[in-house]
Symmetry: D2
Subunit: 435 residues, 4 copies
């Protein structure tokens, strides 16, 4: 039987070392002032005996939960045997196993013919590599990204990111990217794919011919906006028609979070390039890749590189994760079922408070219509032992990113806490007594 | 007794999976077509029983050798105990231990007062963070970098990198950076610090007031050019005088490679910002940080972030490495001695062939004056079981990046192989019979 | 009585000198291969005795016709008296007279309080100065321009121009400008001011806070698209609300072309900055200025300059033009009446052929829905002695830019020629016999 | 006999209209607070009867003096005959005459085969066109300009300009240009052509392959630095070797100012592109052109344009100037002689005060080593009726830009005033009693 009760601690830990030595840029540590020391599955433990249910999952980096035993054992065995830890981009058994597993478990069954590029092991590096490649292949500079898109913090990826506070950190104007309205951005009556098509077809629109259209199927940081398959197919067709590459940034929405291994499965189009990171290693190890059609693989050797581009520990855990979770249809069926459960529970909760939900699969949230309220909700959750965060332009969406493998009872238990905190926060905000 | 004889295999492994599924961007795997499966200390093993002496060390990422037993055990213990693997930037025991060790073992003994920013765990992310911060703090855009500098592949860091082939991969013009001549670039008679000072002091020089001066003390990728302490002090003074931050990119030259933990120790200046990566985790795990004076820590929470910015496995191995190697003066003394040995052996070798050496500490090379010859040398070495690579604008420098902990006998054995291959390559090239 | 019959020549002149010595960039000379030597009012004469009715008017630079006798005499007198021709930005009688006339004849009656900046004497220089000032005053970089906007050919103004062929000439990516949809761009059901407001109000839209919104009230080069007063008021309000300057580029639409001296008169908003050129000197002499509210006049002396920024000949003719045409209400009433006549005649013509018209005041055209047809029309007109040109993203609009002072009979005569040529071109194109 | 005595007025004119209506960007009018109304030859007259000797000549725009009678008469005749004033880029008699005269009087005798592009009629427009063309022809982005270079105020040309105050006016970072040290910039012992060659030949220098090298032979605004023929030939060779166009910006130094019609005549190299403006029209009318080798004339029709690109009045006066001054060898001989006289007089003056001179031909100045002193000198001169200005990064050079046609006695008289003012200013500054 699963114990579903979080047991948060109330004593704040000593943070002097962080104040003295860690940059003020730290963020999550501020709203969750505990020092963690252990984690397994959906649980995180702090060093004062507290236990927290994790509905953040490293922003979808821990889709299989913390320290999944299968992955953990694979890694322990590998390290114990002195497997290659760091090998630049040299061939290793671990890399070969990963590529073969990717091919047989993921690509072939989905009829996809991609090559894998191991970029530096962070999402932003993968995005940088993807847009470099698009610019190289097309000989064009402009990348079209979308409102509320989030793609990373290095200069090339940051230019594609919509968030003004992040953009402001650049210290230089961000160039060579245009942000166009995402699906639904201008309400249900405006087809934003039409707007884009109109501008790209007009030689006097001021929008230069693009190298790439870079899109998330669900905007994880931007508020869980979810694009319809029709709209995504239109974008794919527009990209093809105008000689641009379609890049799907699947860093947050991929690896099962929205149901399939790729978030665009079954939608009737195939991206030219896909970027992956976060849950790709399965266990939270730094790992990223860009996948693209072989014809696009026009790199010169070493034209884009990076010291940690072959993170062999991540190869090991990623291979184990692909085999364990994606080797049969069971996992995917389980996510589908659980995603429906989550949808139902969230919808009920939202309906009760006159709110609406967002997202798809196991990547869903509830729109509190106010960053202030949403932040009060997540703070309340944390006090009750639930780790959960906000999303959206105004931090107004409370985002449920539970592990995909979470037990249904735990999922419900966490949502119960969420419901209580929403009720309280709304009551405080609107001056109504909570029951 | 140490066995010093490499035993390379001659059979090339099956590479079909790489050709089918890995991007053409792979580079080292082309000149070293083996599949490796195990490594310890200075040795790498391939999956057909071959054994290779590693004088590349992951481009200085494996300063303590492969899978050092102390680090390995610390990591095994941590994983076995379900320590936090991935925690975004949440406080963890592993992070606190790292920060405390950094403070007590590294910063305090050196009289340095820095704060640590855990950027995305690759060198280029650390450089991006450093130049963002410099631009934010100064309100200026221009970064001054140097000829032959190498700082990374993402758009902001790539703009600081000198190499034309890498720059060409950007697909957009690289902006907001000026490259000025490095120490010695224009020969011994031209003081390039003077040139820079002249231009920055002239309001009509066309060189805008800089946010930062970004410099490597030894240019690892750019040909092992080594700046003199005098020149670096001048650069530090120029930066200060003109209101710019001095950023030392210590990603390759730091962590003992040039002798001290920082490559600038004992030179009489303190950088405003230092970037670290490569050997920082000790075991080759992705890890990077930017260090800066507390007054410069003007980040807003989350203004620069990244999913893998808290790589707890790397905290663990980095902490173990700091304690094990830097906790006493022995290691540093050992590097100093071994660096002198390397210098002597390389100088002798160079003198014999009318060549010259480059570099400092355990980061030295020999100038073959031709990329063709140097590549022939490294190819010859690999056939004899020595992994070694070139550097420099024309790949003309053969670069010895042996593990810092290498046994002297092994170091000599490797250099013997190098000497044979140089002799052969020169003979072939200049048509002289090798002895 | 006015002679209204053009008498074109059929012999093409010797163009050897142009082929030998003039750049291939020349354009109008290709479709109108005559050598002109004389002009007065609405007429141009070639050197073989031909006479052409001018419905191009130097792209609205000759609103008062060629060599208007009042302006001509003023200039002759000034030159004969050795008036200052070139005086950099020194005070001259001519400049003082212009400023005083601008104040009394134009600004005061309209309740406008602007300062005049004499930029280099071309429209693009005025636009460059305007956006520089906006960036300086606001401390922001981004300028919002509109689809189909045309603002000039120098790098700053070209970035604001929508036309892809012109943009392509830059040879570098054009930065720091976003093009948003103009009024009506997405059809009657989409309010593009709403789209803009939505994006600027969203901190995650990827659209940075703008320094300026740069807009033409009628897009002269972009196809005679005419913005509604309501939309322009919205844009003005949006600019104000978001801390941006509203710049009206009145270079082509100003100086009476659309009715008032400024094209935005009577619309209920006041731009922060207005750029003027083309017909400002009245006689076709190079002259441009930027007008702005005194509070915005934050230039340092000489911060933006230019050798010909004080074109005193232009001061003289501009002063004469302001006094002669704008000193009483008669001229404006006359334009209004003639604009209505033009509207009626064009509407009739369009209706007959199932076409539509565009534009406002004396700045109107007819949409041939095909650049090929429109070019056939203008070629046919030229053969019959009518100088007229196309506009629009596809050159699909035939644009009537007759002198504002043209006699009604001449206007009708020119439109008769246009009607014949449209009939012929449509017949040829659609295979129908022309009557 | 020539009257050589200036008669300045002391009463400052009423400047209320300027303060009320002219932008604060005005500059010369501040240090020369008079209102001028008439000018001929070397003389300017104010509206209170004052007379000033003009050693500024519109910054070398009035090389033939104010309102030269031959040019003036040609213009009066043209206007009186209703010659085309404004004709966009249509062929006109005036344009044909200019092109033919340019060919026969200037190009053929010098063995130059250039095509003429009539850009917008200001120097900055010509520079913009030149660098656009270079980028288009080469497919590269980077332009190499030089320290202290001055090329204009629009965004493309401003990026090539060295002056920090002007650059700061841009409000955006200036990109795609690198400033390299001009001849002599680093003192007599550093060959800056060598420095440039070294960097361009090094694939890791960070200096991208350039589209163009843009250079003035004498830096008019940058302090009258004069490049040696040897250095310029090296630059020409470097440009050719590296596939870049050499653009000579002859806007200030051309039209006889340094002796020949082009400032590079007789130096043993031929630029790929030459930009001209300022004195090109002869009478101070706005006029500019770019000249380039026919093979480079790869413009599409209209790819770069501008409303005033055919300033026919300027064609008329420019043609008259070419014929009158350049039709025989006399004028050039006269400049040479007078330039030598100027050199001798300035050298004597400089020697007396321990100062040095700068420049070439009739483009010379004296280095006061302090902007404060130099400004005191020019202020003193103005009080005595001599219009003269400073130049250089610190405004430390007093620049003699007398009309080329000035009578020797007048030249001497002006220099006498200058000498007195230098003596006084030095005395005040260094606390020595003036004699």
């Amino acid at each position: 039987m699963i114990t579903t009760r979080p047991q948060p601690t109330t004593r704040k830990p000593d943070t002097a070392i962080y104040e003295r030595r860690e940059s003020a840029v730290r963020s999550y540590a501020r709203s969750m002032p505990r020092q963690f020391n252990k984690a397994e599955g959906a649980w995180m433990h702090d060093n004062q005996g507290g236990r927290y249910l994790d509905f953040l999952s490293g922003c979808s980096t821990l889709n299989y939960g913390h320290n999944h035993p299968v992955l953990k054992q694979a890694l322990l065995d590998y390290i114990a045997a002195d497997g290659i830890t760091h090998g630049l981009d040299l061939h290793t058994d671990a890399k070969a196993a990963f590529l073969e597993t990717l091919e047989t478990v993921i690509l072939r069954p989905r009829g996809l013919n991609y090559r894998a590029m191991f970029t530096g092991p962070t999402g932003t590096n993968a995005v940088e590599a993807a847009i470099k490649l698009a610019r190289k292949v097309t000989g064009r500079e402009l990348v079209i990204a979308f409102t509320n898109g989030f793609h990373g913090m290095t200069l090339g990826a940051l230019a594609c990111t919509g968030n003004a506070a992040k953009r402001g950190g650049a210290g230089v104007p961000l160039s060579h990217v245009a942000h166009e309205p995402y699906d639904g951005y201008h309400g249900p009556d405006v087809d934003t794919a039409d707007l884009l098509e109109r501008r790209l077809s007009d030689p006097s629109s001021g929008l230069d011919a693009p190298a790439a259209i870079l899109v998330e199927t669900v905007q994880g940081e931007g508020g869980l906006n979810s694009a319809s398959p029709e709209w995504l197919r239109r974008i794919a067709a527009i990209a093809r028609h105008h000689g641009a590459l379609m890049i799907v940034d699947d860093i947050q929405a991929g690896c099962g979070r929205t149901g399939g291994f790729f978030s665009f499965e079954g939608m009737g189009f195939t991206p030219d390039v896909v970027t992956m990171a976060k849950s790709l290693s399965g266990m939270g190890l730094p790992f990223a890749l860009a996948l693209f059609r072989p014809e696009l693989d026009q790199w010169s050797p070493g034209e884009h590189n990076g010291t940690f581009r072959g993170n062999n520990h991540a190869f090991v855990t990623a291979t184990a994760a692909l085999r364990h979770f994606w080797g049969s249809a069971m996992f995917q069926a389980d996510i589908a079922r659980r995603g429906t459960l989550l949808e139902r529970l969230l919808e009920t909760m939202a309906a009760e408070h006159g709110l609406s939900t967002r997202g798809r699969g196991m990547m869903r949230g509830i729109d509190l219509k106010s960053g202030e309220i949403a932040t009060a909700v997540t703070a309340g959750c944390f006090e009750r032992g639930l780790i959960i965060e906000t999303s959206g332009a105004h931090d107004e969406i409370v985002k449920v990113l539970a592990p995909l493998v979470i037990d249904d009872a735990l999922l419900s238990a966490g949502l119960d806490i969420l419901e209580i905190c929403i009720r309280e926060a709304l009551a405080v905000h609107y001056g109504v007594a909570a029951e």
